[in-house]
């Protein structure tokens, strides 16, 4: 297939300006970078995190009075799927020691640790066990395992990358547990990339002082998830898995302890009462909210469910306003939409160009600045390229790389990207790529301490749903590590906690109270949440769903 004739026509404009741009690059000249003032201006006006518009103040709940992206604010001010007053909580459908909400890397690691201490565990998950952002992480997992490295440097790199906004006890826990996590995965039979003598292969990454990135092929997250999921399946006596059964509300007991959740069978549309002595929230992030319309690298179920139900129970969040956008996600062909195009492409000299084939930004600004400049060119200048499926993007002129560094450089330096486009008939050493910023990671989330506890007894959190580990910016490879480190901690702490805990009468009073708060603050027609899954029906189709109006 490759590019359509219309897009091929547009590529001619890129080719027309290329010789002059190549000469410029050979002279060592660049499109001028922004000054610090100009940077802050473009960030303020166009970076989704900085823009005043598209944000609003939340009027209820623990983070009342703080600014959030509209999509997030809508969900923090949402109303429940169930009529809380009408639920008979005396009829239990499930009764267990620990209920883990979310079946990705963090939830599964927690289940393994808890079950080792004899706890009975239920994992309730919205999609299949393992369908999560964990499985999509390609690059690797950080840990200071080498002689030249130590948790000290892992800590420093992590807080430096996070602009020193990280929560210190969480970073300390991450740096401390990271090698233990790697050893645990090795013990479970994970196939790491190793040298012949068994030494872990490690590499540098953006913001690293030491080579600390461990990997398994180019599918590290998938290998982690496969191994720990397989181990969970080996313990059917202690770990039960409920798929397509997300939690839609937390249960408390009359003492205010967390005591389970209301689960929703998405296939039969029944609700279940699941009582547990402790609950671990491991529901992941919010990429599928498509904050401000962005495409995302996230999996289908990344809809912030855990933050929403915790919020109604009184657990606030931090840094949730902060989102990691990667400036160059693919927008064409359709099956590559959201696919990350590594910074290396620009590092090797590829220019970013508008529909006229003109440069409009220095290609190697910091990620947030670069994203903002692309957005400005699309929204304000209106010179984006529109694809056959109605997406907007900019040319990333990868053919420059072979011209500048010699034929074959693209294939040698960017093998995976070359293959991913070649599969769809595009040779990126000959034709440019179409890119636009893409939503990658929820930097913030619910508040926990280094033992993964929230302020509600019996409620724990781990994985992308929690905030503070990465501050306002996450380093590559720290997400897979935080999933394992805090997943393991949550499982262990919860299993210790449930010893001797007695659950009193179950209640959904906090939900009733939350709805009252919504009404008292004049919030009318709030959306229903958790939203569980995005709806990608077109307006044409939804306008014909007459019975729903």
């Amino acid at each position: 297939m490759g590019y359509t004739p219309e897009l091929k026509e547009l590529i001619k404009r890129v080719e027309a300006t290329r010789p002059a741009r190549i000469d410029m690059a050979r002279r060592g000249e660049n499109f001028p970078a922004l000054s610090l003032e100009e940077r802050s201006e473009v960030l303020d006006q166009y970076h989704p995190d900085y823009q005043k518009e598209g944000r609003r103040m939340v009027r209820v709940g623990p983070n009342k009075g703080e600014l959030f992206q509209n999509e997030v604010a809508d969900l923090l001010e949402s109303r429940p799927m169930i009529r809380a007053e009408g639920v008979d909580l005396s009829r239990l459908d499930f009764d267990t020691d620990i209920l883990i909400i979310g079946g990705g890397g963090a939830g599964t690691a927690a289940a393994l640790m808890a079950s080792e201490q004899g706890a009975r565990v239920i994992i309730a998950t919205k999609l299949r066990h393992g369908d999560a952002n964990t499985i999509m992480a390609e690059g690797g997992i950080q840990a200071a395992t080498q002689e030249c490295d130590s948790p000290y440097y892992h800590y420093l790199d992590t807080v430096g990358g996070g602009h020193f906004t990280n929560q210190p006890d969480l970073v300390a826990a991450l740096a401390h547990d990271a090698p233990i996590s790697i050893a645990w995965l090795e013990e479970l039979g994970m196939m790491f990339n190793k040298h012949a003598d068994g030494r872990m292969k490690v590499t540098h990454f953006g913001g690293s002082s030491r080579k600390r990135m461990h990997s398994a092929g180019d599918m590290t997250g998938a290998e982690i998830m496969r191994v720990i999921r397989d181990e969970a399946r080996n313990r059917p006596d202690r770990i039960s898995i409920l798929e397509f059964c997300p939690a839609v509300e937390l249960l408390l007991d009359e003492d205010g302890k967390c005591a389970g959740a209301i689960l929703y069978n998405m296939e039969t549309r029944e609700f279940y009462v699941a009582r547990a002595k402790a609950v671990i929230l491991a529901t992941g992030g919010f990429g599928r909210l498509h904050i401000r319309g962005f495409a995302t690298t996230n999996h289908y179920g990344a809809t912030m469910d855990g933050v929403v139900i915790a919020y109604r129970a009184g657990v606030g969040n931090k840094y949730l306003y902060s989102t990691q956008y990667h400036p160059t996600g693919a927008v064409y062909p359709e099956q590559n939409v959201g696919l990350l195009i590594t910074e290396k492409v620009r590092g090797l000299g590829a220019h970013v160009l508008n529909v006229e084939g003109e440069q409009f930004c220095f290609p190697l600004e910091p990620r947030d600045v670069e994203s903002a400049e692309l957005i400005r060119e699309a929204v304000e200048v209106g010179k984006g390229v529109v694809t056959p499926t109605g997406r907007v993007g900019f040319w990333l002129d990868s053919p420059m790389i072979d011209i500048l560094h010699g034929e074959g450089t693209v294939r040698k330096e960017l093998p995976a990207k070359y293959i991913q486009f070649h599969r769809y008939g595009i040779d990126i050493s000959q034709e440019p790529m179409l890119v636009y910023p893409t939503l990658h990671y929820q930097n913030g989330g619910i508040q926990i301490n280094d033992q993964t506890r929230t302020h509600i007894p019996g409620l724990y959190g781990a994985g992308e749903v929690v905030g503070g580990i990465h501050g306002e910016n996450r380093l590559m490879g720290n997400s897979l590590q935080d999933i394992i480190t805090f997943g393991r901690r949550a499982g262990t702490r919860a299993a210790e906690y449930v010893q001797g805990v007695e659950i009193k009468r179950l209640t959904l009073d906090h939900v009733v109270a939350f709805e009252r708060e919504l009404r008292e603050n004049g919030i009318v027609n709030p959306v229903i949440a958790p939203v569980l899954l995005p709806d990608y029906s077109t307006e044409e189709v939804t306008s014909r769903r007459w019975q729903e109006f």
Binding site: G54, D131, E147, I182, M219, G293, P388, T389, T538
Partner: protein
């Protein structure tokens, strides 16, 4: 929710713009007919099967997962017009073709043996004992033909029968456990479960262990780093920034395990 605030508006470019994963049909764009479980729909060309189905109004519960080609939730079988061959793919990775007839196979039953990784003998015989059906393979190769990841499934099953677990582990590494192989197997093997068992045996017992890692874990357990990390958590911001900026960078070309920084106080 307003989906289009950071995207060009209709006025700016006088065209409709897709946001998120929602595709739209801009003026003049071409459509092609596809048959979802036999029923005809017109969808924009260049869409993946997954997005084409969503475009016409399907909302997945099963049959969609990572949407990035790695979770194995959206296995799809299809035929093309005038072609007897069955084709296999992931709905999120396969582009629609005119007149294709498709169905998803979001789940397929497969036998999985429970085992204890700590106690298992790391031998091929252990695998045979858990999965005696291995020897029902007739080498028909339908598994390999069905694999959307181009894994040589029959070859790794052959390697296991030949007792070569290391070869099977490497050959099966790209498996996403979608189950299409098992759905096509006339010997009724659960290939992907067998491969998972073999890879874990390989990772735990056959691949050499990382000695430096064992040592580092002992150091951590002994509390060696507790003091210096705690000091960082309590450090003044300016001092923290200074240390971050002054930290020495390991050279790109440093040999594994050989380079050490000048300042070794914090190792």
């Amino acid at each position: 929710m307003n989906k289009a605030q950071t995207h060009p508006t209709n006025e700016k470019q006088n065209q409709k713009i897709a946001t998120g994963d929602r595709a739209i049909l801009p003026d003049g764009a071409k459509t092609v007919p596809i048959y979802v479980m036999g029923k005809r729909y017109e969808v924009p060309e260049t869409l993946t099967i997954m997005k084409a189905m969503e475009f016409v109004g399907f909302k997945f519960i099963r049959g969609a997962g990572c949407r990035g080609g790695i979770c194995g939730a959206c296995s799809t079988v299809y035929r093309k017009a005038g072609d007897y061959k069955l084709h296999f793919g992931l709905a999120c990775q396969t582009v629609v073709e005119p007149n294709m007839v498709l169905t998803q196979i979001p789940f397929y039953p497969a036998n999985r043996a429970v085992y204890n990784i700590e106690e298992i003998e790391p031998t091929a015989e252990s695998v045979y004992a858990l999965y005696p059906e291995l020897f029902r393979c007739v080498a028909c190769n339908n598994c390999t033909k069905a694999c959307p990841m181009d894994v040589e499934v029959m070859d790794y099953i052959s390697a296991i029968k030949q007792g070569d677990l290391a070869k099977a582990a490497v050959l099966s590494f790209d498996c996403i456990q979608c189950g299409l192989c098992a759905s096509r197997c006339m010997g009724e093997l659960p290939q992907y479960h067998i491969a998972q068992l073999v890879r874990r045996i390989y990772g735990k017992y056959i691949q050499p262990r990382a000695e430096h890692l064992k040592k580092r874990v002992q150091e951590i357990d002994s509390g060696k780093y507790d003091g210096i990390v705690k000091a960082l958590t309590e450090m003044e911001l300016e001092e923290l920034k200074r240390r971050y900026l002054e930290s020495e960078r390991e050279p790109n070309m440093a040999l594994p395990g050989e380079w050490l920084p000048k300042d070794q106080e914090y190792l």
